[in-house]
């Protein structure tokens, strides 16, 4: 890989051949706003907000798609650039329903950030959303195409990243939009609810239904952990507010092994955590029925019975089933207990099942 030197906003910076202007700027903490760019997919150069001025080029170039060249001179903040960005942003603001008051994306919306950065209080064009209405029949994903800026991130995520080939661009009426083929709902399409489209949507057009009205982005604490379903071990973020997991999100930046991709189980299958049927108290069976008892009583009783059986029938009369769903620490402690306290190697788990 060849090192290339170029000039961005008067600074000499270096990048590798094949990198784009946007990537090199980002690595050097030079801010260029983007909407349609996403690191997991091929650049589309469609939204026109990442435009920059390159000395010698006649028109502005999309920095997310333009490879760097030796001695290139780039200006990311010239008047021409700002004017183009403003125009693109105002067109987007006026062509949709961007009422932030009750939007789930409020606080992490790239369009909102852009309007703020450019100081746009009111677009100069009249606001006329297409009027698609909200699709919220399924319990996982809410689609509000009046908030869609047709950046195409979801289309590329569905086709290039998850390769589920559900989403595409289409026209409904005179408006360009995105969605499953033939204008069907997610529910009636081949969608497998992986939610990749939701995780890359830069605005509030695609959001998680579970989290609706449950907490603002700045109110939730995102706790990074590992998915509790399959062996891929995807990195997920539990979004917590008031001691409750309100939704699950993911982030490309969390890296291996999943780079922000999840499946339906990891993204939408963790509502069992607060399910009302969770066991909350130790139970002991007496006279054929379960009774809630104190921890002391349950622990004392269990220890006493295990000791009796071990001492009377021998260590090998006890069998222990550990779990492929519990942590390494849980499994370690239970096999140690089995071997060191019960005195048997009768310990196994459902790896084989």
């Amino acid at each position: 890989m060849k090192t290339i030197t170029l000039n961005i906003d008067g600074r000499q910076v270096q990048g590798a051949s094949g990198q784009t202007i946007y990537e090199v700027a980002r690595e050097n903490d030079i801010h260029i706003p983007v909407l349609c760019y996403h690191p997991a997919a091929k650049p589309a150069g469609a939204c026109r907000v990442c435009v920059v001025e390159v000395a010698g080029a006649r028109s502005l170039v999309a920095s997310c798609a333009q490879p760097i060249t030796e001695d290139m001179v780039v200006n990311t903040k010239s008047d021409r650039v700002i004017a183009a960005r403003r125009l693109a942003t105002e067109l987007l603001l006026s062509s949709g329903n961007h009422n932030c008051l009750v939007c789930e994306a409020n606080g992490q919306c790239l369009l909102q950030e852009l309007a703020y950065e450019l100081g746009i209080e009111q677009p100069r064009f009249s606001v006329s959303p297409p009027g698609y209405g909200i699709e919220e029949e399924n319990p996982m994903i809410i689609r509000d195409m009046d908030r869609c800026i047709v950046c195409g991130r979801c289309v590329r995520a569905c086709n290039e990243v998850q390769v589920n080939r559900v989403l595409d661009f289409s026209y409904r009426g005179k408006h360009a939009t995105v969605g499953p083929a033939f204008g069907t709902t997610y529910e009636d399409s081949e969608c497998v609810f992986c939610g990749e489209c939701v995780s890359v949507c830069p605005v509030g057009a695609l959001t998680e239904k579970q989290g609706r009205f449950k907490g603002r982005n700045w109110e939730v604490k995102k706790v990074r952990t590992t998915c509790s379903y399959c062996g891929v071990g995807c990195q997920i973020e539990l979004n917590v507010k008031d001691n409750k997991v309100v939704k699950v999100t993911s982030d490309y930046e969390l890296g291996e092994p999943n780079h922000g991709s999840l499946c339906v189980k990891g993204r939408f299958g963790h509502d069992f955590i607060h399910h009302p049927e969770r066991l909350t108290k130790p139970l002991i069976r007496k006279d054929g029925k379960f009774w809630e008892v104190s921890w002391e009583e349950a622990l004392d009783y269990t220890a006493k019975r295990l000791k009796e059986i071990r001492d009377k029938n021998g260590s090998d009369s006890i069998g222990v089933f550990t779990s492929a769903r519990c942590t390494n620490e849980d499994n370690y402690v239970l096999q140690k207990f089995t071997r060191a306290v019960i005195g048997t190697n009768n310990v196994d788990h459902c790896a084989r099942l």
Partner: protein, 533 residues
């Protein structure tokens, strides 16, 4: 996995078998599909017409239970046509000649008779796999859940060695683990024959080491313990008096449910730790409320050996406690203090006794997990195994003959049942069936039945039928589809109300001790119409 998930981008060819990847490991499936879009070739060997078949250059549909035959067949072609890696075989392996002798008779025509795979397809698959490098093999329970499961796995290893695909980036033999922490539970010694880190309990020096580290109240036993299915059998015979379950539900997950229920009823004392009541806790004497993964700290080890953090996000639900804490409190009452203050305390102890984990610490995996073996703090972890040299020295070819499954269809039970999972459910459903989204997309219990079988039995789509094996009968809705071949019935096992494992047999692989979930003989009957009037 010998190799890593991210290496899918490096492979030129994939051989996928016995894994319904898009449903069971969807994010790995996404990486495979991405690679296919970029030009990698996919060979699928699976009896069912599953989603990923759309991405396959070749799809071979074998009769379930004939894996050794087609794998030997591929090797036969590769050897006959001189497509194998001579240098690799000579320099890094042993046992080649014996294996070659055995596979000699597995000509494509012979294999076609056993497996139903057309000879020409097998030849094409063999050529494609052997001539594109590197080639990665992925498999899951469709390979292991057979009485020949160990043979199947060893055969795949033979195939990979023959083509020089073990110990290279983008190659390997990669089992996809079903449940999130199967790898970790095995690493931690939750197995009847090994301590943590696969150190043998039969080795006196190892026992001495653990005696020193643990100071046990009972002498560490040198006797290999019982596996899950053996424990159930022993309980059935009255030999096991007490059973302790941590987050397991054998009433749904284990073969032959009726037998399991009887076994559990015979035990004098049953303890369960779980997050929900289930079919197994219902039979317990004591049930402890356990914390879920969201309420505790710890680590899981994923299918590529990556040790990753689990972090406490919310406080305990009710009075629930982490599993390790419950066990430690019982141990203390039995005269063995386990004074861990945190999960990290336990992990620090794990590192001390488990050489492959020695270099891993919570600090080091704060951002990104590390893949074992990681012998010391300077070590970056291991992306793929057997680089330059096999762990045992030379890679060993095993000469393996094909054996039929234990229970084959016959006149009385003419159909072949194979079980598995679906995308929207997980294992016994304890978690997934309590999720609104997952249940919205999943339809409840069903079987897949070929249209020709449906015609033969007069079954229409969506009709509820009775299916029986020698062990029991269940009622279930039929989905008429060519996802399965004629003669084969597929059924997911997540559902207690129509439990596939009422039907499955307890025949085990003699070495792996894995039940043969992928082949049982069954029959189908129409439900009798209720008399009207």
């Amino acid at each position: 996995m010998t190799n890593s998930i991210s290496e899918a981008a490096e492979s030129a060819v994939f051989l996928l078998t016995g894994t319904n990847t898009t449903e069971n490991h969807p994010v790995i499936a996404a990486k495979l599909k991405q690679a296919v879009n970029k030009g990698a070739k996919l060979i699928l060997v699976d009896p069912r017409n599953i989603e990923i078949a759309k991405f396959a250059a070749l799809h071979l549909r074998q009769r379930p239970g004939t894996d050794v035959a087609w794998i030997n067949g591929m090797m036969n072609v590769i050897i006959e046509e001189g497509l194998y890696e001579r240098d690799y075989v000579e320099g890094r392996t042993e046992g080649f000649e014996k294996m070659k002798e055995v596979v000699k008779k597995y000509t494509p025509e012979f294999v076609e008779k056993i497996s139903g795979i057309p000879a020409a397809d097998l030849i094409e698959a063999a050529r494609l796999y052997a001539s594109s490098k590197p080639g990665a093999i992925y498999y899951a329970m469709g390979i292991t859940q057979h009485t020949t499961g160990t043979d199947n796995v060893m055969s795949l290893a033979n195939l990979a060695m023959l083509t020089g695909n073990i110990g290279v980036l983008g190659g390997g033999v990669n089992p996809l683990r079903g449940q999130n922490n199967v790898q970790g539970a095995c690493d931690m010694g939750a197995l009847p024959n090994v301590f943590p880190g696969y150190q043998r309990i039969t080795d006196e020096a190892i026992r001495a080491k653990f005696t020193e580290a643990w100071k046990p109240v009972m002498p560490l036993s040198e006797k290999v313990g019982l596996t899950i299915v053996e424990m159930t059998n022993a309980a059935h015979e009255g030999k096991l008096k007490a059973l302790y379950f941590m987050g397991e539900n054998p009433m749904v997950s284990d073969p032959d449910t009726t037998h399991v229920r009887e076994a559990l009823k015979k035990a004098a004392f049953i303890v369960c730790q779980d997050i929900f009541m289930n079919e197994t806790t219902e039979l317990a004497d004591v049930v402890f409320p356990a914390a879920s993964f969201a309420e505790k700290d710890g680590t899981f080890t994923n299918t590529e050996r990556r040790v990753q953090r689990v972090r406490k996000a919310v406080g305990p639900i009710g009075e629930s406690r982490p599993d390790w804490k419950i066990i430690a409190d019982i141990a203390e009452r039995m005269g063995y203090p386990m004074q861990y203050r945190s999960a990290n305390d336990i992990f620090e102890e794990i590192r001390k006794v488990t050489p492959s984990y020695a270099g891993i610490s919570y600090d080091r995996i704060e951002k990104t997990g590390i893949q074992w073996p990681c012998p010391n703090e300077e070590h970056q972890g291991t992306r793929f195994l057997h680089k330059d040299k096999f762990v045992r020295g030379l890679g060993l070819f095993n000469a393996i003959e094909f054996r039929e499954a234990a229970e084959l269809p016959d006149d009385e039970y003419p159909l072949l049942l194979t079980t598995g999972r679906i995308l929207y459910q997980y294992h016994t459903g304890t978690m997934s069936r309590r999720s609104e989204g997952l249940n919205f997309r999943s339809t409840g219990p069903f079987i897949e039945m070929n249209p020709r079988d449906a015609r033969d039995y007069g079954v229409s789509d969506d009709e509820v039928v009775l299916i029986s094996s020698r062990r029991g009968t269940v009622e279930v809705r039929a989905w008429v589809t060519d996802r399965v071949n004629r003669g084969t019935i597929f059924m997911p096992f997540h559902y207690a109300e129509a439990a596939a494992n009422v039907l499955t047999s307890t025949f085990l692989d003699p070495i792996g001790k894995i039940p043969e979930y992928k082949v049982s003989a069954i029959k189908i009957e129409k439900k009798k119409k209720k008399a009207t009037g």
